[in-house]
Each structure stands twice: as C-alpha cells, then as structure tokens.
C-alpha cells in the first residue's frame, strides 16, 4: 500500500464533489492527506494542479494531479483493485456512467435552481421531481431493480455520485420550505438514500446536517440581502456563485 504522504486531496468541507472522493478513498481503505481549500481564494497548489478549472477536488497521487470527481473516482478504482466501486460487466459500467452523467447534467442543476431561484422556484421544484421520477423508475423497475444499492449489495460509483449531493435535498427542504423527496412519491429512492446515509463510511464523510443547514442558511441570507428582499434570481457574484457552486453542483469537479 502507498504511504499516506503519496496521496493528497485538495477539497472543501461543504463540497459534495470532494465528499465523493473522500468516500471512495475510505471505501478503499486508503489513507490520504487532506488540505482544506478556500474556494474564493484558491491556494497556489490548487492553481498549479488544476490550472484550467481552478477548482476542488484535486487528487494528487505521488504529486500527479487528477481532477473532475468522476474521473478521479474511476482513477482510484482502476489503480487500487480491492473493494471495486465499478461493476465488472461493460454494460453495467456504461449504465453506471450514464446515470452519473444524468446526476451532474440534470439533477444537480435542478436542485441548485431550487436554492438559488426566487420566482422560478416552483418550476425548479417540478424539475427536481421529474428527475427523481426517472431515478425512482430505474430503481423500482429498471436496471437496479431489487438491489439494495445502485452498486448491488455494496455501495458503488453511482451511489457515491448520487449520494454525495443528495443530502442537500433535505437541507434545501428545510431552508427553502419545499418538499423534494416525499417518501410517499419516491419510496424506493427515499429508502436508498436513508440506507446510504446510514453506512459507516458515509457517516464519517458527510458533515453533520446542522452544519450543512447553518451553511445553507448563511448563503441564503447573503443572497436575500444582495437582492434586497426582492424575489428575483440573485445575480451571480464571485462570492455567492462560488459558495453555491461548492454547495450544490460542485465546483465543476
């Protein structure tokens, strides 16, 4: 096994993409050095290793950087073969990758829109519901039917990608006072999420909900102050966008 100093992660404590990598490393039993980044003021190391996107997470293996969380997860899986997080069948791998793409491309932006939109909130909530319906159907009747996790009996790539981010659903439900994951409407998804969040490695990775609530409330206050209480979508500024991006769909990573 590599010495701890050869694995390093530049991340941000409230960033779901960082959590994905932390969780994967934990599941693989890999020790690593963690460096907390201020996303508004990236460190020289971050700028050096991710000059194109300048964002977390950045994974360093013997000083060689890997960026983009889904790319990082696959790199980790392919480098350390024990406790695989990808299925072995090519078709199942393609399916896992497809739904990861869906999570980043459709679900995450919709969830973000719930948080950041003013008048458009109802439309954003509907979008989230439409996307959850697709996942619910896949869990209930489709490729993942009858499985405990998307990865099978154990957590896999898609669980990590969807799970690290889905905790924001509960946070936004409270802060924005909307219903996103109604157990009656999305029973299978709801059950999967609860099961996922109960896993030891997940509990060790994801920050406590009150910290996330405090964080989200803080950003919300800032947004409302900026918009002077008018209910329009807050114009993007480096601070809020950075913070929201970190909170929601990830710093691109």
């Amino acid at each position: 096994m590599d010495p701890p100093s050869s694995l390093k992660l530049l991340g941000s404590w409230a960033d779901s993409h960082t959590h994905r990598v932390q969780l994967a490393l934990k599941l693989k039993g890999l020790e690593f050095e963690y460096q907390e980044e201020d996303v508004i003021n990236p460190s020289p190391a971050l700028l050096l290793h991710n000059p194109i996107y300048k964002k977390v997470p950045v994974f360093l293996h013997s000083d060689r950087p890997v960026v983009e969380s889904v790319v990082i997860l696959q790199y980790i899986d392919e480098t350390w073969a024990d406790n695989p997080i990808m299925p072995s069948d090519p078709f199942e791998r393609a399916d896992a990758r497809f739904w990861c793409h869906f999570a980043e491309d459709k679900l995450a932006p919709a969830v973000g829109a719930v948080f950041s939109s003013g008048e458009g909130q109802k439309a954003a909530v509907d979008q989230v519901h439409d996307n959850l319906k697709l996942l619910e159907r896949e869990l209930r009747d489709g490729a993942f039917k009858g499985q405990r996790f998307f990865g099978g009996d154990k957590i896999g790539l898609l669980d990590i990608v969807l799970g690290c981010g889905s905790y924001w659903l509960a946070v936004f439900e409270e802060v924005m006072e909307v219903k996103l994951v109604d157990p009656g409407t999305f029973p299978v998804f709801h059950a999967w999420l609860k099961d996922f969040e109960e896993q030891n490695e997940v509990k060790e990775t994801i920050p406590a909900i009150d910290k996330l609530l405090e964080y989200a409330r803080g950003i919300r206050q800032m947004m409302l102050r900026l918009s002077n209480g008018t209910s329009t979508t807050v114009p993007a500024t480096a601070g809020t966008t950075g913070a929201i991006n970190v909170a929601v769909d990830g710093s691109s990573g």
Partner: protein, 226 residues
C-alpha cells in the same frame, strides 16, 4: 470481428458529431453494425424507447440493450470488444484519467466556443467565441504533445479516446471555418493539431463516415432557413 446480423445496431443521424464518435469506435474494432438513420425532424419509437431520459442520438443497441451518451458508448465498445483491434483507452490508469479529463474539457469548453462562433449575432460576440476557441485549441495542442509522445494521435500510434472526442467535431469545424472566413485549426497557432486534423479525417475508420463539408453546409443552410 463480425457481429451476428442484428446483434449491433446504432441509432443516429449522419450530421451528428456525437453519432460519428460511436461509428469511429465501432469501425476501429471492426464491428459490423446496422445503422438506423433517424428521419430529420422526427424521433422514432425505438429511439424514444431506448433513450427515454434524453431522447437523443446516438444510441447503441447491443443485443437490444441500449447504451447512451457518445463517449460512454465509445468506452463501452472498447470494453465489449476488448479482444478486437487496438485499445481505444490506454492501459495505464493515469493516462486513462488524462484522456477522460480532456474529453470532458472538449465537450465542456471547446464545443460551446466553436458553436458560439456559428450562433453569434454580433461581430463582437463572434470575435469573443473565436478567441475562446483558439485558446482552447492551444491547450489541446499542449495536451496532444504530451499524450501523443511524438506519435500520430492523442492515443499514440493509433486513434484513441481523445482523438475520437475532438475529431468528431472536424466536419462541423470546417463548415464554421468557411462560414466565418477563418481558420480554427491554424498551422501557425496549433501546428500539431492542424496536421493531426487532416490525418484523423483520412484514417480508414473515419473517412467513410465523416460527413462531407458540402453536405454539412447544405444542412446548416437548411437549418438556418427554418
């Protein structure tokens, strides 16, 4: 390696760069497949059933099981026909990570800037998109130097993952070059990529399926006329 008739089908449209990616991958592996050309302006029942989430081409059907998203299809083809032809993704995990990263970058940064040139309503907007496209290509030129290790393609001696990701856009890049009156793959700005572009288009696995520039121009004019 020939597949049994009906075993491999690809739903697509001839002008789509994303469909082209799938076709190049299948050709590289010598896979025989049935090409199901979608009618322009309509979506077939089969497409809607096979890709209910996005309702878009390409969709690969292997033993009737659908695979969607162009680069996911490329990686699937590489794995499913691992014993045929050359590997599309390299064997080394770090190199694989680099190829995957650049493919994300190409779709994320290069494609929107290229497309932005075509969509631009004002000269300023067009000029900005052109600058962004050239800046992206400069980065890709450096990536090419690093990944090709002096050989012909991003994949080294053979067409690889990044070659397919970027090369698929070459038909449309030529159309935009003509329409905008400029060179994107400029021998002076990005000499390695300028040569690579010609080489890619001339490759066995590509030349039969890369749409002709004149046909794409006509298609583009038709779209604008709509």
């Amino acid at each position: 390696m020939a597949a049994a008739a009906g075993e491999v089908r690809l739903i697509g449209g001839w002008p789509s760069p994303f469909v082209l990616r799938a076709r190049v991958a299948l050709n590289l592996k010598g896979v025989e497949y049935e090409f199901l050309q979608e009618k322009f302006g309509e979506k077939s029942e089969l497409l809607l059933r096979s890709n209910p989430v996005y309702k878009k081409v390409p969709v690969l059907l292997h033993h009737d099981k659908p695979v969607c998203e162009s680069m996911i299809i490329v990686e699937y083809v590489d794995a499913a026909w691992a014993k045929s032809g050359q590997a599309i993704l390299p064997a080394d995990p770090y190199e694989r990570a680099l190829h995957r990263f650049w493919a994300v970058y190409i779709d994320d940064k290069w494609f929107p800037s290229m497309f932005g040139i075509a969509k631009a309503q004002t000269e300023e907007a067009k000029a900005e998109s052109v600058e962004q496209a050239w800046a992206a290509l400069k980065l890709l030129e450096e990536a090419f130097e690093k990944l090709s290790k002096g050989k012909a393609f991003f994949g080294g001696g053979t067409i690889g993952y990044v070659d397919i990701a970027l090369g698929a856009y070459l038909g449309w890049a030529k159309v935009i070059e003509q329409m905008a009156g400029l060179k994107l793959f400029d021998e002076e700005k990005t000499p390695l990529l300028a040569v690579w572009a010609e080489r890619f288009c001339a490759h066995e696995a590509v030349k039969e399926v890369m749409p002709e520039t004149e046909k794409l121009m006509e298609f583009a004019k038709m779209l604008r006329g709509k």
